[in-house]
């Protein structure tokens, strides 16, 4: 009995966004990273094309992070004490991009400073040829204070700068515009808010080819289904031709999963949760794998093993 395969036809596609600049393009990166470009729902190769498979980034910090899971200190060893070494280790682990998050304070507990942020970014740029994201600590004033000088310091590198949120985006967008960078547009799990912030950032003159949407996700067990469905809805809207939802989507499963109890700690939890190390890695990998299904173009993870597993999955989703 011949079965006719139903195919969806879409009028829209995801915009292509390229991060990083080589020497020829005015930067110092050894390669660039392009996200997006697909014109069908994830990996349905029979009804569309997918020029750029989902990319995988490793999150590093400007100094040894406080209170991360012991499993992460173990995984990165000495490298975690130095952002340049850490970036090199992440590159060796197979990352497509380095996702550098600046800390609120320096190691001695003092507020982070522009001079420190600039120095760290310079070091990391020298240590790796990968495209780089530089993200503030997540406090509006401090974000602006640190990201503006970083944007100037790395002019022309086409960094991904963040975090742009609805209550604080103008300063970072202006710095990115002036210094040839891109921005992360982050909104809390809502289709309309995602779209609205892209519009606001675009209204400041930022080309859409330089905006990556971060619709925010929850970890597995902690609200992943909200982020998952928001992403599916955004992607369907993009394919239907809604221009302001056509940005590539980035998500941070590493940050989300390593703060939940199932990953973070090995003691004082039910025995039925099983082996801690295995469970923690499953938690991050399953969260990432699920978000790959909902259309993530860039995933930021923390554990090198997760990167390796998601890489395998992305490979297995490519056309024969």
């Amino acid at each position: 009995m011949p079965v006719e395969i139903p195919k969806d036809k879409w009028s829209g596609s995801v915009r292509q966004v390229t991060l990083g600049a080589t020497a020829q393009q005015g930067g110092t990166r050894s390669r660039t990273l392009t996200l997006g470009g697909e014109n069908a729902m994830p990996f349905l190769h029979y009804e569309g094309s997918f020029p750029n498979p989902p990319a995988l980034a490793i999150e590093i910090r400007d100094r040894r992070p406080d209170e991360w899971s012991p499993l992460l200190y173990q995984a990165w060893g000495e490298a975690i004490n130095d952002p340049a070494e850490w970036a090199k280790a992440a590159e060796a682990a197979g990352a497509d991009m380095i996702f550098l998050v600046l800390s609120q304070t320096t190691a001695d507990g003092q507020p982070n400073t522009p001079a420190n942020a600039k120095a760290v970014v310079r070091k990391v740029l020298q240590a790796t040829g990968l495209p780089l994201a530089v993200i503030g600590p997540g406090q509006a004033d401090l974000d602006n204070e640190l990201i503006v000088p970083v944007a100037e310091e790395a002019k022309g590198e086409r960094l991904l700068l963040g975090t742009c949120e609805d209550k604080n985006y103008r300063t970072i967008v202006a710095a990115a515009l002036a210094n040839d960078h891109l921005v992360q547009s982050k909104t809390p799990m809502d289709v309309n808010l995602s779209k609205q912030l892209v519009i606001l950032i675009h209204d400041m003159g930022m080309p859409l080819e330089r905006i990556v949407m971060d619709p925010t996700t929850g970890a597995l067990g902690y609200g992943i289904e909200y982020g998952y469905s928001v992403m599916e809805r955004l992607r369907l809207a993009a394919l239907q031709g809604d221009g302001m939802t056509q940005q590539p989507m980035m998500v941070t499963p590493g940050e989300e999963t390593w703060k939940v109890k199932e990953s973070k700690v090995g003691e004082g939890v039910p025995a039925a949760w099983g082996d801690w190390q295995k469970r923690a890695l499953e938690w991050e990998a399953i969260t990432g794998a699920t978000l790959i299904q909902s259309g993530a173009n860039l995933l930021v993870v923390r554990h090198p093993k997760t990167l390796q597993r998601l890489r395998g999955m992305v490979g297995a989703l490519q056309p024969a």
């Binding site: 079965v3 139903p6 809390p188 929850g218 289904e225 039925a272 999955m313």
Partner: protein, 447 residues
């Protein structure tokens, strides 16, 4: 595809005899369309119309139920491709494969351990759904013995993996009194497999190497009187199974293509070079009905069960807990007082951490319409006014001897407003994440 009221009306006798209890045939048709009445209420409907109406009212993906001595599992009858369009209804079953060739003692031990597994997730008990017993020995007596051993250790539903009709019969006899899924019929053995399944009243899985072949087989099996079918389209890895399962769901929902309107079974750990966990995760999100894992591993099963729970949560109804003042670890008047929202994941994260910390504490759960802290705050459902209202409404002042309230770190900005809403109170900004509560209380709470 569901018929409209008018389409149903055209198939009814149109005599307005009222025997169905409704004033007119049209009124009855409307009730049928809304699924608020049943066709059997009409004694006069013609046999031809009855067949058409029954076919049209059947779900596009058949609901297939299996049962153990204790416990049932029904999968299928899904109505959407994306969960936000409505919801996913019937969670896929997670099974662990057991080989009859492993030996009686090994089978017994493996099954008993996996059967006992259960975890609590936001007040819901998660557990394995059953076992897939495989006749790897090729010996009917050994297979029957293994099925009996499994049944002695677990009352959960079974899948019987039997490559030949003889093995199938032996397994089904040993499973008498339950309703297992028989796996699987194919192009070469379908007649004998259908007989065995029919005799035992068991649903039957069917294997094909292409959708064309599968559709032919299901038509033959239905002709042989088997209605409860499950499909194994044979797609192996991530890419092919995603494409094929998507195609199958679309065929059922968009084309109402009956020959392939059945739940799907997958074996993610049997795929060469695949990461079983990640392929199983994909199959949970994208359309499997039965997922057979190769081994029992709590550290993998727990997150997969949670994923299944998350994906199959109704997006229209966030799971909530009752807004109230909760007591944890038997608090007295001096115990710390915390506030959070009534989104169940938020509540359980906070309550579990406080409980685990050993601190007696009071927890105000404010009505934030089932949203998490940050989402509720952004939506204006967890603001100073609402928090203050909860503190007053739940009689906190009568039970707690102090006036210090710990708010989530995510909403630190509310502390000023809250001090205005609750005059005389000291507002303390707690940690951003629940996991840090114990450390916070130790450092910050002084009696």
């Amino acid at each position: 595809m569901a018929l409209t009221g008018l389409e149903i009306y055209k198939l009814l006798p149109q005599t307005n005899c009222k025997d169905c209890g409704y004033p007119t045939c049209l009124a009855f048709a409307m009730k049928l369309a809304a699924k608020q009445a049943e066709l059997k209420a009409c004694p006069h409907v013609s046999p031809e119309a009855k067949i058409k109406l029954e076919a049209a009212s059947a779900p596009p993906i058949r609901l297939v139920e299996i049962a153990g001595e204790d416990g049932k599992l029904a999968v299928g009858n899904e109505t959407v491709l994306f969960r936000h369009e409505k919801t996913f209804y019937h969670r896929p079953g997670l099974f662990v494969r057991v080989m009859d060739s492993a030996g009686d003692a090994a089978v017994k031990a493996a099954v008993a351990e996996a059967d006992a597994f259960q975890v609590d997730y936001v007040g819901i008990t998660l557990a394995l759904d059953g076992f897939a017993v495989e006749a790897a020995s090729g010996n009917p007596a050994a297979f029957a013995a293994a099925v009996k051993t499994v049944r002695a250790a677990s009352k959960k539903p079974l899948i019987l993996i039997a490559p030949t009709p003889e093995l199938a019969k032996a397994g089904l006899e040993a499973a008498a009194g339950t309703r297992p899924l028989l796996y699987a019929a194919d192009g070469s053995n379908w007649q004998a497999m259908a007989e065995a399944a029919k005799a035992a009243g068991a649903p039957l899985a069917v294997k094909g190497s292409s959708l064309d072949e599968l559709a032919e087989l299901t038509a033959k099996l239905q002709g042989a009187g088997i209605e409860d079918l499950v499909l194994d389209p044979g797609a192996a890895g991530h890419r092919d199974s995603l494409q094929q399962f998507t195609t199958l769901r679309r065929l059922a929902l968009k084309k109402n293509f009956r020959p392939l309107g059945f739940p799907l079974i997958t074996f993610p750990g049997a795929v060469a070079e695949a990461d079983q966990t990640l392929l199983a995760a994909q199959h949970i999100a994208k359309y499997a009905g039965f997922i057979v894992l190769e081994q029992f591993e709590p550290a993998t099963l727990y997150p997969l069960l949670v994923l299944r729970q998350n994906i199959y949560t109704d997006p229209q109804k966030p799971i909530q807990v009752q807004p109230a003042l909760y007591e944890i670890n038997g608090p007295d008047g001096n115990a710390p007082l915390l506030v959070t929202t009534n989104f169940s994941i938020t509540y359980f994260s906070v309550a579990n951490e406080v409980e685990g910390s050993g601190w007696p504490a009071w927890l105000v759960v404010a009505d934030a319409e089932g949203m998490s802290v940050l989402t509720a705050w952004a939506a204006g459902k967890f603001d100073a006014e609402r928090i203050a209202k909860s503190v007053k409404a739940f009689g906190v002042e009568g039970k707690v001897g102090h006036k210090r309230l710990i708010i989530p770190g995510q909403v630190a900005v509310l502390s000023g407003e809250l001090e205005e809403e609750l005059p005389g109170w000291q507002i303390m900004v707690g940690p951003r994440e629940a996991v840090d509560i114990a450390a916070y209380l130790k450092a910050m709470w002084k009696n």
